[in-house]
């Protein structure tokens, strides 16, 4: 069906069900319970999950298949975001033109940068992409926001002002926020069931729907002859060149596609929250998508999405655990023990979440080069070995090599 084999189809269906039911699945704890702070089913975080999922899927098309490690992908995300907000400023708050333009501009930008950077490979390629991204960030942060030619609005971030043209905007009929044909991205239906509260948000479902399309396209790319060619680049580019094949057009195509995915993610970020800050182009943001992809499992289909979810969960949930919360948890212990536990855990949660993330990341790179997906496979194999000796890993999550 849809040109997919049975295994891929079932993976796609599972992902579709999970994303559609995310508001339910991510809120497993009743709203008033002590565990409620671990709930992730609120619009902003769910949107981040799928948007950064798209970003990581796109990055994986380049890194997972060709092995080219780009340290500058955040630049495309930023370009996409700025394009989308400019559409809001000029045309109006309907998100479709913005998202479309963000894909187009980031594709063009990626083509330009790809043409230059792909002349080199290995670490030289990484440094070149890093250099371009840092230049874009530095310019967006300051020079491109000067009063005479304000393209990015610098540190504050590009946003819509009341005196912007917005030619097709009619504030009588349409919300003064990003919307899709009148339905605001912020519109949220809250549903309470017993002690649970679930939030169904328009922006999330738009992003989730787009992510499913992106995921489907990524499967098709992975399984296509083009995908095979990219894997050939990764395993041995020289041999490929000797056979008379020029690998450059293939890697360039992969670079542009992943740049467009990044731009799309950027456009969606602006669509759900119409302010584009320059920091999202900084090299640490590029490093973050690398972390996501590796944590989840580079070269696997589902890995990057998992990695994106994990990091965003850490950033938003783990960072909120402050000392008050810790004291609440351990209040059943005697005083001395309580303080000891809080002191021990304190450096790793709350504002120390970067430390925990760094440690987990090191452990994953050292012991699980295939990321969480490999971890899952190992566990799965251990379980299934008991049943049959011919345990086979699911094809859908097979690494590229």
């Amino acid at each position: 069906m849809l040109g997919l084999n049975a295994k891929d189809m079932s993976l796609l269906i599972v992902v579709a069900i999970l994303t559609m039911c995310a508001p339910l699945i991510l809120n497993p704890f009743p709203a008033d319970s002590a565990m409620a702070q671990f709930n992730a089913g609120y619009p902003d975080l769910m949107q981040k999950f799928v948007i950064f999922g798209i970003f990581a899927i796109g990055f994986n098309i380049l890194f997972g298949l060709t092995g080219y490690l780009s340290f500058g992908h955040a630049a495309f995300l930023g370009v996409g975001s700025y394009s989308c907000v400019w559409m809001f400023k000029l045309l109006g708050y309907n998100v479709l033109p913005g998202i479309a333009l963000s894909v187009v501009t980031s594709g063009l930008f990626a083509l330009l940068i790809g043409l230059i950077t792909l002349r080199r490979s290995g670490i030289y390629f990484s440094i070149l992409t890093l250099a371009f991204a840092q230049m874009s960030f530095a310019l967006a942060y300051s020079v491109l926001s000067n009063p005479k030619f304000n393209l990015t609005n610098g540190e504050t971030g590009l946003q819509v002002y009341a005196n912007d043209p917005q030619w097709f905007h009619n504030s009588e009929r349409l919300p003064d926020l990003p919307h899709i044909f009148g339905l605001s991205m912020r519109a949220t239906q809250k549903v309470s069931v017993g002690g649970w509260e679930f939030q169904f948000n328009t922006g999330y479902y738009l992003c989730a729907f787009i992510m499913l399309i992106c995921f489907y396209l990524a499967i098709r790319i992975f399984r296509s002859p083009f995908g095979m060619m990219l894997r050939a680049v990764k395993s041995n580019q020289q041999r490929m060149n000797y056979t008379g094949l020029n690998s450059r057009p293939y890697t360039l195509a992969a670079f542009v596609i992943s740049g467009m995915y990044a731009g799309l993610a950027g456009g969606l970020l602006s669509a759900v929250d119409p302010l584009a800050g320059a920091e999202r182009m900084q090299w640490t943001a590029s490093g973050e998508v690398v972390l996501m992809t590796i944590l989840g499992g580079a070269g696997t289909l589902i890995g990057p999405v998992l990695g994106a979810g994990l990091i965003k969960y850490f950033e938003n949930i783990f960072s909120k655990i402050n000392d008050n919360v810790l004291h609440g948890w351990f209040s059943f212990l005697p005083d001395g023990m309580e303080d000891l536990m809080v002191t021990l855990i304190h450096p790793f949660v709350g504002k120390g979440w970067h430390l925990t993330l760094g440690i987990i990341f090191m452990l994953v790179v050292t012991f699980l080069p295939g990321g969480l997906v490999e971890g899952g496979q190992r566990i799965g194999r251990m379980l299934s070995r008991k049943k049959s000796k011919e345990a086979d890993s699911p094809a859908s999550t097979e690494p590229a090599e």
């Binding site: 508001p23 709930n39 609120y42 619009p43 902003d44 975080l45 981040k48 530095a138 942060y141 300051s142 020079v143 926001s145 009063p147 610098g154 540190e155 504050t156 971030g157 946003q159 002002y161 009341a162 005196n163 349409l174 919300p175 003064d176 926020l177 009148g182 339905l183 605001s184 912020r186 519109a187 949220t188 239906q189 809250k190 549903v191 309470s192 069931v193 017993g194 509260e197 939030q199 169904f200 328009t202 479902y205 929250d273 302010l275 800050g277 920091e279 999202r280 950033e315 938003n316 960072s319 909120k320 402050n322 709350g350 504002k351 970067h354």
Partner: protein
């Protein structure tokens, strides 16, 4: 949540998308239409404290958080009540806000506008925060203020000094107690002219972003009005750590004053470089060379160490003030934490009390009612003398402190000494002043 502008048609569509046409059984109760975003219904009310916990301003953020916790303690009737006892409005009585216990959630802005907005959004969407406050940078404050306007909650800005926060980026749901670049210039210029003379040539180094530009514009205008000349204004990248290439040309430029429009790590590094190059021992045009740092904070002064001695700047508040409000605040903060509060802590504490008081007086958390209670509000006893929350731009007008790095500090906290308390009248400006033009408050947004 933010069901602003959610039409009936939109509702139907939401239903179609989410429920996919499934009729909701009776156990599902779609939340009843609240009068405004996150209307508190239970026995408690949640405030959102959004401060930098990681990144270069993490220490400022930590101090802000201490102040917030202290404010919540006082609002709930704990501790010694701090400035609640000296505050001219007596509506707060230690029983929470409108009889509800005050609770809070914290978030990390990372000093990035994206992260700050995400964190504020999660506090509004997930934790039901009815007010957001905090921040240690103007870009972040402006970004979060815009979000709060869209979401329909009140934003009480923390440390933000750019003219734009209550200028071209002002919002009806946003309020700022802290002073701004214009006020720094207006307070500092006369003191500088009195100490250093009116015939001075100033060389500006300016952090190349929004705050730096408005700060530079303000101080240059204020000093030029008193006869100073501005020789040069050089923009420095925000990420710069070694300022030697920018400081070295100052020596031969003919300038006799260096103005450092830098904040945080930038200021520590540029001031260090200027001192290293021996600028302070120089004689130019027959006068002693001087350095000026328009925006000071004690935490920054600590970072700059010895280098701040004798250098002039301005601050919003300092713990050595001797009015009743300041004394009460320093006492309860110092007793609880063992060191005096910073100006960031002060403004955050005050903002929390002001919000609670406005709600109490308005009898509702509705942002429109709160805004009405704050607009044009005159109060005293919070450490800055008689203060006005101006209705036109939601900026507080109060006295500004001109300070200088202390020559003989007696303790590690005793780094700045107050040179002059500039009266409020001297730093006031018209709401349509050109440096603040270009924006409009819009109308208050209650969300739902």
């Amino acid at each position: 949540m933010t069901k602003s502008n959610l039409t009936r048609r939109g509702m139907l569509k939401t239903g179609a998308v989410t429920g996919a046409g499934v009729a909701l059984p009776t156990i599902f109760t779609a939340s009843s239409a609240a009068a405004f975003t996150n209307e508190p219904t239970g026995s408690s009310v949640t405030l959102g404290f959004n401060v930098p916990q990681t990144g270069p301003y993490a220490d400022e953020g930590a101090d802000e958080l201490r102040a917030y916790e202290l404010a919540v303690e006082h609002l709930n009737g704990g501790g010694d009540g701090g400035m609640m006892n000296t505050f001219s409005s007596k509506s707060l009585d230690g029983s929470g806000i409108l009889g509800r216990k005050v609770e809070f959630v914290t978030g990390d802005t990372q000093t990035k506008s994206d992260a700050a907005r995400a964190s504020a959004k999660s506090m509004i969407e997930k934790d039901g925060a009815v007010m957001i406050t905090g921040g240690s940078s103007s870009g972040v404050a402006i970004a979060v203020q815009g979000l709060c306007q869209e979401a329909g909650v009140i934003f009480m800005a923390g440390l933000t000094h750019s003219n734009d926060t209550t200028g071209k980026d002002k919002k009806a749901n946003g309020f700022r107690h802290f002073f701004n670049g214009y006020m720094s210039g207006a307070a500092l210029a006369p003191v500088l002219a009195a100490r250093y003379g009116k015939d001075r040539r100033a060389y500006h180094l300016t952090a190349d972003y929004t705050w730096g530009w408005t700060q530079q514009e303000s101080i240059a205008a204020a000093t030029e009005a008193l006869g100073w000349q501005t020789v040069n204004n050089v923009l420095t990248p925000l990420a710069q750590t070694d300022f030697s290439s920018y400081v070295a040309p100052v020596l031969n430029s003919g300038a006799d004053v260096l103005v450092l429009n830098h904040y945080g790590g930038n200021m520590v590094n540029s001031l260090t470089a200027a001192v290293q190059f021996g600028l302070r021992e120089k004689q130019v045009n027959g006068k002693d060379f001087e350095i000026v740092v328009p925006l000071y904070s004690r935490l920054m002064a600590k970072g700059a160490g010895e280098n701040v001695k004798g250098i002039f700047g301005s601050t919003n508040w300092h713990w050595s003030l001797t009015d009743e409000g300041s004394k009460a605040f320093v006492k309860s903060f110092g007793t609880k934490y063992g060191f005096p509060p910073s100006q960031a802590a002060h403004t955050c504490y005050v903002q929390t009390l002001l919000y609670a008081d406005a709600v109490q007086r308005a009898g509702s958390h509705n942002p429109c009612a709160v805004a009405e209670a704050l607009e044009g509000f005159e109060f005293d006893g919070l450490g800055n003398g008689p203060t006005l929350y101006r209705a036109e731009d939601h900026q507080c007008f109060k006295d500004v402190l001109v300070v200088k790095g202390k020559d003989n500090p007696t303790s590690e906290f005793d780094l700045l000494e107050i040179v002059e308390i500039t009266p409020r009248a001297q730093v006031e400006y018209a709401a349509d002043h050109p440096m603040f033009a270009g924006g409009s408050l819009g109308s208050c947004n209650p969300g739902a």
